[in-house]
Amino acid sequence: MDLNKLMTYMPALLEGARNTIVLTVISVIFGAILGLFLALGRLSKNKLIDRICWFYIWLFRGTPLLMQLFFIYYALPNINPTLTLPGQWIPALLALALNSAAYLAEIIRAAIQSIDKGQMEAAKALGMSYGQAMGRVIVPQSYRRLIPPVGNELIALLKDSSLVAMIAMTELMKVTNQISTRESNAAIYLPAAVLYLAMTTIFTVVFEKLEKKYSVYE
């Protein structure tokens, strides 16, 4: 593929890459919020809450993201038309966020559990309630340990988000496929791979910076 042609395709590729990034970042943010609640649920003394959260995680980690996407996009409206989510962005974001929440929940739980038990004891001995101890002592300490695995999850999602092509969203992978059928040429996958590499590398660097920032007290 010559350079001229590549340059004409570049805006489309870049727009695809932008959609990929936006999808990924927004889903991770919502996924992390839901994941935190799931993680706290898994650590809860209430057996029922623990079980529910366990089931959620089991279900969403045990089935392919693609099926979850399909389910939310195609099957929900079949079950009941009022469950039709408008447009492409909302079902795509919902599926990605629900999926990553399951992974992030386990990451967050591991980070919380890796905090020295002495910290919870010290907090309790000072009279803090479980909630205060979690909120003021345990969870803040887990931030730094969360950064590397959350970064990995974000990068995994960056690549998995290509599956939303299946539900009519246009992101980098879909744009690449479209161009490749036009050209009947696999060479277009090369610039797309470079764009993916660039995105993952940038995210990696950002997360390494963040990690350094949060290690001041170590």
């Binding site: 042609k5 489309a12 996009y73 195609y74 009519a168 036009r182």
Partner: protein, 248 residues
């Protein structure tokens, strides 16, 4: 005063939403900017939109897998995306009358000389796009024992069988004639159109099951377009000939 009552369901909006798997040149694919959807079906859709009195036509790019489900859950009003007519689709959706005649063809490499008809596919490997009538065609061949059980490879994108033909993993591609012609004209010294089916395989616009009124209107419009030469014009623009004649 028909118009008041008959714009049913999702057709009520001012914009016609058209579902396309826009990786199927020259029927529906991306322009050289990689963004604009163009092709024969696209022009037909635009004309349809105009004649339906819509202010605009928007294209929703959906992968072939799932495109029919997406239609029935209101993601768009109609699929205009090289939908071949078969019983399954007739029963589950509302198809218009044929608007273009399609045919299955066999494409081989220039160097291949021993495949001149489906009868010579025995022991060969054939590639098709998954879920298309080309796949159905090959499955029939398998049933008739004209093609080995392991002789069929299915791919998500229509280009992929051509790439695998290049790589030498398969011996032939079975594909719609319009697509075949597009790829052959782009790679004149690479591929051969080895065989062309005699029976033509009509394509239709595909509406939702419940949108029969809209389908009927579309049928009328298709007739008009045929009659006033619009179809011929569009066809000649994309194929250099009129492939919209002689539809049964």
């Amino acid at each position: 005063n028909k118009t008041e009552s008959s714009d049913s369901g999702s057709g009520t909006s001012d914009v016609l939403l058209v579902g396309v798997d826009d990786s199927y040149p020259p029927m529906e694919f991306k322009d050289s900017d990689g963004k604009t959807t163009i092709g024969f079906d696209v022009d037909v859709a635009k004309e349809l939109g105009k004649r339906l009195g819509k202010s605009d036509v928007k294209f929703v790019s959906n992968d072939w897998t799932g495109i029919f489900s997406a239609l029935e859950i209101n993601k768009f009003d109609v699929i205009i995306s090289s939908v071949s007519i078969n019983d399954e689709r007739q029963s589950k959706h509302s198809l218009t009358k044929p608007y273009i005649a399609n045919k299955q063809v066999i494409v081989t490499k220039k160097s291949t000389t021993d495949i001149k008809s489906p009868d010579e596919l025995k022991g060969k490997k054939v590639g098709v796009q998954a879920g298309t009538t080309s796949e159905d065609f090959c499955r029939d061949l398998i049933k008739q024992s004209k093609l080995g059980d392991n002789g069929l490879a299915t791919y998500p994108l229509v280009t992929q069988p051509f790439m695998d033909l290049d790589a030498g993993r398969i011996d032939a591609v079975v594909v719609d004639i319009v697509v075949a012609k597009y790829y052959i004209s782009n790679n004149k010294d690479k591929y051969n159109l080895s065989w062309e089916s005699s029976s033509s395989e009509p394509m239709a616009l595909c509406f939702k099951k419940k949108d029969t009124d809209l389908r009927d209107k579309a049928n009328k419009i298709l007739d008009d377009m045929q009659a006033d030469g619009t179809m011929k014009k569009i066809s000649e623009k994309w194929f250099g000939e009129d492939v919209t004649k002689n539809l049964q």
